[in-house]
């Protein structure tokens, strides 16, 4: 299993569901998906991380790589339901301030929607 990836559209928001563990072995499909969003101009992104148990720097590298372009295009990347251990990795790299974290998927969708966090 390692990493399961699922994408769906919710109004103007692209939702990516991550389940499993994100490391250099499993990061490929996630990278491709994020680059695809960027290429298609789908820059309001929610990552549903409730099922994500682990993230290595390879996963953070992808996120950091797309964050700038996403923001320049007026978009955002909201992280929903991040588990404590995944959050810890963001904290260790001082990356937590760069992303909105939402406890629930609903809150994340509100933050990512046009009227929401990017106001």
């Amino acid at each position: 299993m390692s990493l399961q990836l699922e994408a769906r559209q919710e109004g103007e928001v692209r939702v990516l569901v991550l389940e499993g563990e994100l490391d250099a072995q499993t990061v490929g499909p996630f990278d491709k998906e994020m680059e695809g969003c960027l290429a298609r101009g789908e820059v309001r992104i929610v990552l549903d991380c409730r099922g994500l148990a682990f993230i290595a720097s390879a996963g953070l590298g992808v996120l950091m790589g797309v964050l700038g372009p996403v923001q320049q295009a007026g978009g955002t990347i909201v992280l929903a339901g991040v588990q404590a251990e995944v959050r810890r990795t963001f904290d260790l790299l001082d990356f937590s301030s760069l992303f909105p974290f939402a406890d629930s998927l609903g809150e994340a969708l509100r933050l990512a929607a046009p009227a929401g966090g990017q106001g």
């Binding site: 390692s2 250099a24 790299l93």
Partner: protein
């Protein structure tokens, strides 16, 4: 409190085995009475070090028998991890500190792995012996389950 005498394991130098390394470390951490968060830190650091050995040390032309050897040892208050490989490339751990600003501006620059290793462990040492064995040595104080 339980300790773990040295346990060694040898995995193929293949990113597909990062997950196996993490599962093994969870077993050993559990047996040593380490807290889940301590186990996570160990898994994270070993994932980073092993990824580097595979991607930078052995590189894409790695041969089929190439391996990464791990040793895990917990004494009363010290956790010692060793990662050994026989990659041709020597590495001394030198490199620029990670730059958060550059990270925002550029895309996918490196340096996060070493940063995490140094952030989480008291001692992060890189050695190469005459036989061509590279060793990464990671040491930190044990934080146990209360």
């Amino acid at each position: 409190m339980p300790g773990v005498r040295a346990v060694r394991f040898s995995l193929p130098a293949d990113l597909a085995y990062l997950e196996v390394a993490r599962r093994f470390l969870a077993v050993l951490g559990d047996k040593s009475g380490l807290s889940p968060s301590e186990v996570h830190d160990i898994q994270l650091v070993v994932t980073e070090a092993m990824t580097n050995v595979i991607e930078h040390g052995y590189g894409p032309r790695v041969d089929d028998g190439a391996a990464v050897d791990l040793q895990f040892e917990v004494t009363d208050d010290l956790l010692v991890l060793l990662l050994c490989d026989t990659a041709p490339e020597a590495f001394d751990g030198a490199g620029p500190e990670v730059d958060l600003e550059r990270y925002r501006a550029e895309r996918k620059v490196g340096g996060l792995g070493l940063h995490l290793m140094r952030r989480l462990f008291d001692e992060v040492g890189f050695m190469r012996d005459e036989a061509g064995v590279n060793t990464v040595r990671l040491v930190r104080q044990v934080r146990r389950q209360s």
